[in-house]
């Protein structure tokens, strides 16, 4: 297992209503001595309570919960006064769910079927500021962010991709791994990570303006 360079152990909260899955995740994570599972909860209400009581660094959250949507938990994490990364758990890593989670402020996603190693690697990369991103997610981000603005659309400048971000996103969507992208552009792995983080933020910023613009385009406003 990876030896953690962190001074303190990072607190992890799991929000998942299917117990076998929850147990599987917990088991995978418990191997890492740098990570400390503080609670496993099964619904939105207890997740929000745990969030405020336990102040976790990482929240693994499923979207379909018995008393509501995991998106609410993700929003609460994004608004929290302390540093808290929400990671959405998805079985297939399908973009609809992951993207809506990112729009609510999620820092990344994990596939439920991933191997224990992959699970830990995903959590670590989020903690180190390099949110994971699959080609499926990348290409949808590209579609959402890179197209020309509509005539009556006022994209906030904060939501427009830079040329390098566009290139990185394009490479990721073509299936290249982060290291391969870094090699392609002659930049460090960390720089790729910060580009990806920036892209995540821009998607979050844009999710609202885009909806308004779409409505305007249809003459609904």
């Amino acid at each position: 297992m990876d030896e953690t360079p962190d001074q303190t152990r990072k607190r992890v909260l799991i929000v998942e209503d299917k117990e076998p899955t929850s147990r599987r995740l917990a088991k995978s994570i418990s191997v890492d001595r740098g990570l400390d599972i503080v609670a496993c909860v099964q619904d939105v209400a207890s997740a929000l309570e745990a969030l405020h009581l336990l102040r976790p660094h990482v929240v693994l959250v499923d979207l379909g919960l018995p008393d509501g949507s995991g998106l609410d938990v993700i929003s609460a994490c994004a608004r929290a006064s302390f540093e808290c990364h929400a990671i959405v758990i998805s079985i297939f890593g399908d973009e609809e769910r992951v993207l809506s989670a990112i729009r609510h402020g999620a820092s990344g996603y994990l596939q439920k079927g991933a191997t224990p190693d992959d699970i830990i690697r995903g959590i670590r990369s989020v903690l180190q500021g390099g949110a994971p991103i699959s080609p499926q997610i990348a290409r949808h981000m590209l579609q959402l962010l890179a197209r020309a603005p509509l005539p009556n659309e006022a994209l906030s400048p904060a939501g427009v991709l830079t040329e390098r971000e566009l290139e990185v996103l394009q490479s990721l969507s073509r299936g290249y791994k982060r290291q391969e992208v870094a090699d392609q552009f002659g930049i460090t792995l960390g720089t790729v990570g910060s580009h990806v983080n920036s892209i995540y933020k821009k998607l979050e910023v844009n999710s609202n303006t885009r909806a308004v613009a779409k409505a305007g385009e249809l003459g609904l406003l």
Binding site: K18, P20, T21, R23, R24, G64, S90, I91, F92, G93, D94, E95, E96, R97, K112, G113, A114, T115, D118, S134, P135, Q136, A138, R139, H140, L142, Q143, L172, S173, R174, G175, Y176, K177, E180, E217, L218, G219
Partner: protein, 602 residues
């Protein structure tokens, strides 16, 4: 500015003088008519029996003196004097105000015409060719007397001239009256329909004095005594000018209250004078205020000139010309009153309302044309707007239809995704967790479950990525295979640079390509025993190449038999569907599957 005003005023004056001069030149003295006797010598009788007298040459002019004394002068023309009989008619082209024949007993008979003949022609039937022609002319001292030459002869010889002069005096006066009435009706109608058109209100009002001017020519001669006859004419002209001034300022959109006040004060003074001044001096009053009216008419012309840019070029020239003509027509009539120039016999004032009536009609027609033009422009704009809006609407409908179709597709897609995810996915996940927790783990079961998860993932990808370019679909495929191949010790050498240049590739064909790559990767996982698989694209190629054991049963030439397996046959079929050539070879260091598209773009 001042010099500009002075120049405009001078121009107005010069134009008017030139026009009066032109009228003066046209107003020829009474000349001979062929077939008729031209009488320009006559005896001015010294006593009622007219036995003696003083021969005078016509035109005879007796200057006015400002008293109301009525004088009667008797004239006698003997047949012997002109060398023949006095047969037919006596034709006075411009008769004095009151002319009556004197019978054999030297008593005056009834006047031959009830009209105010001082401004028109007169025709008198002669009964006895051998008797002398004796007639009386009554005239008021303050009016003076002018007797122009006249004709005697058969009716036919003077008929044409007489009718022409009747037409030019009484006829024109009648025309003026009709025009004024019509003009009043039209202007009033325009004003009542559009209260903002103040110019037309004043134009309608101006028809009042215009009517009066025309009527003076047609009035019975005894209706007004000679002094008032002229006074009414000049007062009417003054009021006429006042109304035209108001019309003009509103027509060109000028606000000149001080000018209008000064003008109305003058008109008031004029009216007061006419009421209080003794009749003998009315002509003097009329003379003074005639100058006043002419002065104001010149002011109107000057103001109009200074603001000519406020109206169209055409309107300016037409209106200015008609105003100058109207002014000259009245000036021409008044001049003989104030000077002793040998003026011709014709009067022109009766044409003044006609000139202004024409101006009014011209304005009305112009306005009508303007309105029509505006209406037409409005129609054109309306048509354009309707066309543009229709286009916009059509585009919007298309957009909405598109969006509705897209929304329906999205909804269906989302429903399938949710069912796969929450339904199938949930179960699989529970099985996976259970399998991992079991005391004796079953690697075959776990691999099978992973295969199922991967396969569902690929199906979900294909649902959401139909409209994506091929290179991005391939990127997604790598992600799905990464875990499986990674566990088998196979790494990717990923060289996808862009989608192959395939102009006629459709979304279902894209999926065919994906299936070929998937099949190739499955083969790598199942049979190749490779450590690396290289996937690369160029403009015309898609190549999957591994470093494994190669084809298990190669033909002698190294080519694989495409019918050797179900998977291979499928690959070949799909390649055909997407118009590509499939090539599978054992390179000696592994297997290479290449899709090649012909260079359709040259």
């Amino acid at each position: 500015m001042t010099s500009q005003v002075a120049r405009a005023a001078a121009r107005s004056l010069v134009f008017t003088i030139v026009m009066v001069g032109l009228l003066y030149a046209l107003n020829r003295p009474v000349g001979e008519l062929s077939g008729a006797l031209f009488v320009d010598d006559i005896l001015l009788c010294a006593e009622p029996s007219c036995a003696q007298g003083e021969p005078v040459t016509l035109p005879l002019r007796v200057e006015r003196s400002y008293t109301t004394e009525v004088n009667t002068s008797r004239f006698r023309l003997d047949p012997s004097f002109v060398g023949g009989g006095l047969a037919g008619v006596a034709y006075f082209p411009a008769a004095p105000r009151a002319l009556s024949l004197v019978d054999a007993g030297f008593a005056p008979t009834a006047p031959p015409s009830s009209r105010n003949t001082s401004r028109g022609p007169l025709l008198i039937e002669l009964t006895d060719a051998d008797a002398p022609l004796v007639f009386d002319i009554s005239w008021v001292a303050h009016e003076g007397l002018i007797l122009h030459p006249f004709h005697i002869g058969p009716r036919e010889a003077v008929q044409m001239s007489y009718l022409l002069r009747v037409g030019l005096t009484y006829g024109l006066a009648l025309t003026s009256i009709i025009l004024m009435l019509a003009s009043f009706a039209i202007c009033a109608a325009i004003y009542s329909a559009e209260r903002s058109e103040a110019a037309f209100f004043w134009l309608a009002m101006s028809n009042g004095p215009g009517l009066l001017i025309g009527a003076v020519y047609l009035l019975p001669r005894d209706l007004l005594s000679p002094g008032y006859d002229l006074a009414v004419l000049i007062l009417a002209a003054d009021v006429y000018v006042a109304f035209i001034l108001r019309f003009m300022t509103r027509f060109i959109g000028l606000d000149t209250p001080r000018l209008e006040r000064a003008n109305i004060l003058g008109c008031g003074a004029h009216a007061l004078c006419v009421l209080v001044v003794p009749e003998g001096y009315l002509n003097l009053v009329s003379a003074v205020f005639a100058f006043w009216a002419v002065g104001w008419a010149l002011v109107i012309l000057t103001v109009f000139q200074l603001n000519r840019e406020r109206t169209s070029r055409r309107s300016f020239f037409a209106l200015f010309g008609l105003l100058v003509l109207a002014l000259a027509l009245s000036c021409h009539d008044w001049m003989p009153y104030f000077g002793s120039l040998p003026w011709g016999p014709s009067f022109t004032g009766q044409a003044l309302p006609t000139a202004l009536g024409v101006a009014t009609l011209w304005l009305v027609v112009q306005r009508l044309l303007d309105t029509l033009t505006r209406l037409e422009a409005l129609n054109v704009r309306l048509d354009q707007t309707v066309a543009a809006k229709s286009q916009e609407l059509e585009a919007n409908y298309r957009l909405i239809a598109q969006n509705q179709t897209q929304a329906a597709l999205d909804a269906e897609r989302a429903r399938i995704m949710v069912e796969l995810h929450d339904g199938v996915g949930g179960h699989i996940l529970n099985i996976m967790a259970y399998a991992e927790e079991a005391e004796r783990r079953d690697p075959v079961l776990e691999t099978a479950l992973e295969d199922v998860v991967r396969e569902i993932g690929i199906i979900m990808d294909s649902i959401t990525s139909l409209d994506m370019p091929l290179d991005m679909i391939l990127g997604g495929l790598r992600h799905r295979y990464e875990g499986l191949l990674g566990r088998l010790g196979v790494s990717f050498d990923w060289q996808v640079q862009g989608p192959p240049d395939l102009p006629r590739i459709a979304s279902d064909q894209k999926m065919d390509v994906v299936r070929i790559v998937q099949e190739a990767l499955n083969n790598v996982a199942k049979h190749a025993r490779a450590t690396q698989v290289r996937v690369s694209t160029t403009r015309h190629h898609l190549i999957i190449e591994d470093n494994g054991i190669g084809l298990s049963a190669p033909k002698p030439d190294g080519r694989a038999s495409l019918s050797s397996g179900m998977g291979l046959r499928n690959m070949a079929q799909r390649a055909e569907q997407v118009g590509a050539e499939l090539d599978m070879v054992d390179t000696g260091q592994g297997t290479r599957i290449a899709l090649t598209w012909p260079d359709v773009r040259g």
